[in-house]
Amino acid sequence: MRTAQAVAWKEIQIYFSSPTAYIVGLIFLALTGIFFTRDLGDPFPEATLEPFFEGTIIMFILLAPALTMRLLAEESKLGTLELLLTSPVRDWEIIIGKYVASLVFFLALVALSFFYAILLFWFANPDPGPIYAGYLGFILYGSAALAVGLLASTMTSNQIVSAVVAMGILLALFFADRASGSVNGLAGEIIGEMGVRGHFDDFSRGVIDTTNIVYFLSVIAFFLFLSIRTLESRRWR
């Protein structure tokens, strides 16, 4: 466990000292600012974070891979993976350490966006339910996207390939509910249920449904599990 901590701590330090992470942070704040103010020009603007959440989850298809592409791809490129895998460290400790680091940086970004919520509460009287629930869903979705990105990073030593693969998976998850229409029966239903959007929308409407929480937690667990297995399989190649 101490080694997982050490891995996480090292990655966190790299996150907070690397330009990539700050560029991602900059884009995140600039775009979320736009999403937040989009509807404020309406004659009767609504005190809500819904447009912010809606826009940001699309953005996460691009930003999560950018945050996670480095995590293991760089280790295999630099050859440090050889050192990591010959140290007495379990594979899951490496994966969990890396994942927690990306989560910490993501949560720091989310914390910055509390600014918008504070503005709303300061100048208006919003319904707090959808904001709390929305944030919960937002954090769950972001965490799931990071797990997807981490899996892509364990599969290759090329950061670009890693980012593109992660984006592909995230896009597929995002549009799965649309694809379900063209498949009939049970298969279509399953594909529809795999879609992120259907599970996220409830949150931003202020509904906390355990089904949705379980959905996101399962996605995280599934992709972390695959990451551990992929890392393990690198030994056999």
Binding site: T3, A6, V7, E82, T86, P88
Partner: protein
């Protein structure tokens, strides 16, 4: 300390090593010698638990590197061929991180850090970012991380490749000084290095061990012959049969280099034929222009063992 039995590893359909067996005693320095692509790195990766062999087993201190991987890995310090460093970390930070990964306690790391930095002469560079260090210093950082946790087994893959001669000497001194309770496996394609450092040498070629002995025995005993090089002024057609007729001569090879006739004589072991040969040459009225004993160098043995043509 290390016991490898029947190691075989395939990359796809291609065998990298086949049926490699060896043992290393505690405190011994074993050298792997072989041309590029002979299977040295593959063998080392298997010993360190980076990848499992297709067939065969390796045990470290009694722990199987595949089945009891964690225990085995705790006992190993490893320097891969391309020194794996996080270039954006400082020397201190990197060593501390590696120490933690090896399961060292913070107090143990603190105590060892100073020692290791002294041994590897990194004192002035503790706070330097690794990316800014020269190749030789990076190599030292690589060795520092390998010996930091006082591993029982140290595996060094080409420890002196790509660094300048002065640093090569320093690195060798460092390995020599490691102490007698540490078992070292190193690979190299530099023969003098291996003969200088190692107690025992395994020569590996095309994935198989072709010879195994002490560097001294390999150089001297293996061939069982002494060689002489004689330069004679006289008609080669007459000289050759005379030389061949001398008692104790196994074989004579003649080289005509622009009128300089040189004869390489393979003599039976333990025979000093210099007096007899010079006597014979002078008795026949030829001139003796040169006569010297040529031992077989490790290079020649190496080439003889790893290439199929005669020297």
């Amino acid at each position: 300390m290390i016991q490898a039995d029947g190691l075989t590893h395939y990359y796809g359909p291609y065998p990298a090593i086949q049926d490699v067996n060896f043992g290393v005693r505690k405190g011994e320095i074993l050298g792997f010698l072989g041309p590029n692509g002979a299977g040295k790195t593959t063998t080392m990766r298997i010993i360190t638990g980076f990848m499992p062999p297709t067939r065969g087993t390796v045990t470290l201190d009694g722990y199987d590197v595949v089945e009891q991987s964690l225990q085995a890995r705790r006992r190993v310090g490893y320097l891969p061929e391309t020194v794996p460093l996080y270039t954006d970390m400082s020397v201190n930070g990197y060593l501390k991180y590696m120490g933690t990964l090896r399961g060292m306690s913070p107090t143990f790391i603190k105590a060892r850090l100073g020692e290791v930095i002294d041994v590897c002469r990194l004192g002035d560079y503790r706070k330097t970012q690794i990316g800014k260090l020269s190749k030789g210093f990076r190599q030292r950082v690589g060795i520092a991380q390998a010996i930091l946790h006082e591993p029982q087994v140290l595996v060094l893959d080409e420890p002196t490749i790509g660094i300048d001669p002065i640093q090569v000497v320093e690195t060798r001194r460092l390995i020599k000084d490691l102490g007698s309770d540490q078992t070292v496996v190193l690979s190299s394609h530099i023969l003098p290095e291996v003969s200088m450092l190692c107690d025992r040498v395994l020569i590996i070629n095309e994935g198989r061990i072709v010879a195994e002995d002490t560097p001294k025995n390999l150089a001297e005993g293996l061939q069982g012959v002494e060689r002489l090089e004689v330069e004679v002024g006289g008609p080669a057609a007459e000289v050759l049969p005379v030389l061949k007729a001398i008692r104790g001569v196994n074989d004579v090879k003649h080289v005509n280099d622009d009128g300089r006739h040189t004869y390489t004589i393979q003599a039976q072991a333990g025979q000093d034929l210099r007096d007899v040969i010079s006597q014979e040459v002078i008795n026949h009225g030829w001139s003796l222009r040169g006569l010297q004993m040529v031992g077989m160098s490790l290079e020649e043995i190496f080439l003889r063992l790893t290439t199929h043509e005669e020297l």
